[in-house]
Subunit: 107 residues, 2 copies
Amino acid sequence: MPLPHEILFKTLADPTRRAIFERLCREGDQTVGALTAHAGISQPAVSKHLGVLKRAGLVKDRHEGRLTHYRAELGALDPLVGWAKEMTGFWQNRFDDLEDLLKRMDQ
Amino acid sequence: MPLPHEILFKTLADPTRRAIFERLCREGDQTVGALTAHAGISQPAVSKHLGVLKRAGLVKDRHEGRLTHYRAELGALDPLVGWAKEMTGFWQNRFDDLEDLLKRMDQ
DNA sequence: TAAACCCATAGCCAGCGAGTTATTGAATTG
DNA sequence: CAATTCAATAACTCGCTGGCTATGGGTTTA
């Protein structure tokens, strides 16, 4: 199975999809209809995006009669931040190594 | 012009490109040849990826004779983390609003 | 129960982008 | 200066994906 941040990058790369996710973050629960009204694309397109977001763990759905509500799942962003911190960490380590080297050269 | 995180998501969505960036983070400076040796794709493909990473501000290049060295530019990741924090912030605000509402209902 | 409504799925199409090979320019080497 | 090497660009192919329309399944309303 792919690493967590893999699917997140792919999923959030699309502007429309990211806009839907942002709206869910700002406004909380939204029905597919409400999301469609603001997305500027057709309802099936919105549903497809929601499916992708759901499989990435970024949203969860809740069925209520004939309506389907979606909400953002914020913890899902953690692997993204974690990956960024990891990259920064590598840089920091290389910097530490250089410091050690200079320290040894100094002796 | 696009928001900073826009181009970052698009650029880092590709696994090959992200692998190149990760390698630059772990190993520091690398020539195009060295990167190509580990990428599993042709040199022109690597050069194209490096071009995309460069336009996103994620890497910088340095010319030294006929070699070109690339290095990661870690500060470029900040808008990504910033965006994630912003999303979390929206959620927090909505939670605060709910708290206020409950508090008012309590009185 | 017929009609209207909400959402998901199916099927199709067009554009984008990641890969290729071929080539060029520039720098080093013999 | 000829040959070689490094990297970028050009030109092309092809698969993926985001959009659409059409339809179906489930739910509420008249």
